[in-house]
């Protein structure tokens, strides 16, 4: 029983807007399965008293004061955009549905 099926990989690819051909799916799905199995070894050594962690550093509450710092100019902000219009980022219509 693979830890990730071909269908699940296809689903993830769709969510990530990555177009995969059948051949690519055939190729990638077993690879992902191996990667997950490898990472899964961590949970074998993790005892009940070891909480899952999402951060390498044992620190909390890193915060900043609520003060303003200078922004980019609109020109700077838009300088990396493939297209701009009316001082806004111009994007293709992506989803045929309401926001």
């Amino acid at each position: 029983m693979p830890s990730i099926t071909r269908e699940e990989v296809a689903h993830l690819a769709r969510l990530a807007r990555i177009e995969l051909s059948d051949e690519e799916l055939d190729h990638l799905a077993p690879q992902l399965d191996q990667i997950i199995a490898l990472v899964g070894q961590v949970s074998e050594v993790a005892a009940d008293d070891i909480p899952p962690t999402s951060h390498a550093l044992p620190i909390t509450n890193v915060m900043r004061e609520d003060v303003n710092v200078p922004c980019l100019t609109p020109e700077q902000a838009l300088s990396g955009a493939p297209a701009a219009e009316e001082q806004r980022f111009r994007v293709p219509r992506i989803l045929d549905e309401e926001a």
């Binding site: 806004r88 994007v91 309401e98």
Partner: protein, 498 residues
Amino acid sequence: MTAEVFAIEDALAQYDPVLGLEVHVELNTKSKMFCGCPTEFGAPPNTQTCPVCLGLPGALPVVNARAVESAIKIGLALNCEIAEWCRFARKNYFYPDMPKNFQTSQYDEPIAFNGWTEVVVDGETYRIEIERAHMEEDTGKSTHVGGATGRIHGASHSLVDYNRAGIPLIEIVTKTIEVAPDKAAAVARAYVSMLRDLLLALDVSDVRMDQGSLRCDANVSLKPRGSKVLGTRTETKNVNSFRSVERAVTYEITRQAAVLASGGKVLQETRHWHEDTGVTTSGREKSDADDYRYFPEPDLVPVAPSREWVEELRATLPEAPSTRRVRLQEEWGFTDLEMRDVINGNALEPIVKTVELGVSPAAAKKWWLGELARAANESGKDLADLGVGPVDVSNVQQRVDKGELNDKLARQVFDGLLKGEGSIDEIIESRGLALVSDDSALIEAIDRAIAANPDVVEKVNSGKPAAAGALIGAVMKDLRGQGDAAKVRELLNAKLGI
């Protein structure tokens, strides 16, 4: 062919509505949630952005301390538990309103959870359970170009302004609300309205619904009367006034009832509220795109508010509305029934302000629930919009206390004020409402009353002083109610030697 919607009475006769409300509040912090960009409303497009809120490679977010503080205050005001330790999570989706391709939010570790609050509708108190209040960031604003209606349908492309992207948001989610069916929509409205007052009192948000700083999504489902099985729910977006909360919920109840009664199925979908036409229309069905693949945000460390900080913030909270009602009732010495009338009549705030001006609570209640409530009813206005305020009530009552007016004359003064006949003095002058307290005028009237009622005088003289009441009545009638009753009694008693 069945009707597209039911009459609300017919819908409520067969189905019990089950509601859930999600309210998004934009905080009034100076800077964004994770960067120092300003949060001004209405600034020119893309003038309030930086590498962090544009999601540029290598930029690192840092949490705004005041936003966390506001989140905790909101949680405490809603009687929530405050997490000892919680994290942010990435909500992944592909839509250009977030340049990062994810929204930084909280998932299964909200900062506040398991709370409750209360709203009052028609004198009844309804308890609303709060599931959670979590921190997240607002999205950018898209304008769709080329479509006939400015909507995305038929649009050729979209333009995005990221000024709003990253402004701190608190999402407040209720547990399911099941109340008397005919009260459901009104309770929903009262809840959002109460939240607005609460957030204003906490000073954590501008709470401008017209500017989108308070936004409500209403989840509605129906269950057939007597059934325990929850129906399929819809989520109505874009409900942006108190009145539309009530209207949108009512509309969804009538629409879903018609669908179910005709044997159809309610689709689990997002729906859009249209303020102008008063209907909701189908948005999109739940789909693949709702698989957000949440995972803990690796660029932010956990938030672990110390209990000391939480208690410090708790100490700054304004008095809860329910506590305040209890306190005021005690201070004013009102019975439960009297207090209920006050709440019912929306007279609480006017009475508070009137009492602050030195009027006794009983007198303030008498005018606000009597003369003024009647006038509000007749004109279909709110008490607050009558044009007669606490200062007027205080001025009139001061004249009553000084003996210049009695209650009957005071009522006429209010009538004159409501009809816009000028100032209190002008009305007293033009309507001839001054109380007669001039001794000679009173003594003349007393003499007339004694002369006209020898039998009563006889009774008083034979040892029944209580009979003198009839003479006072006669004097007051003679003076057309404009006599100073206390003075009349004093002079009459002297005259009769009692």
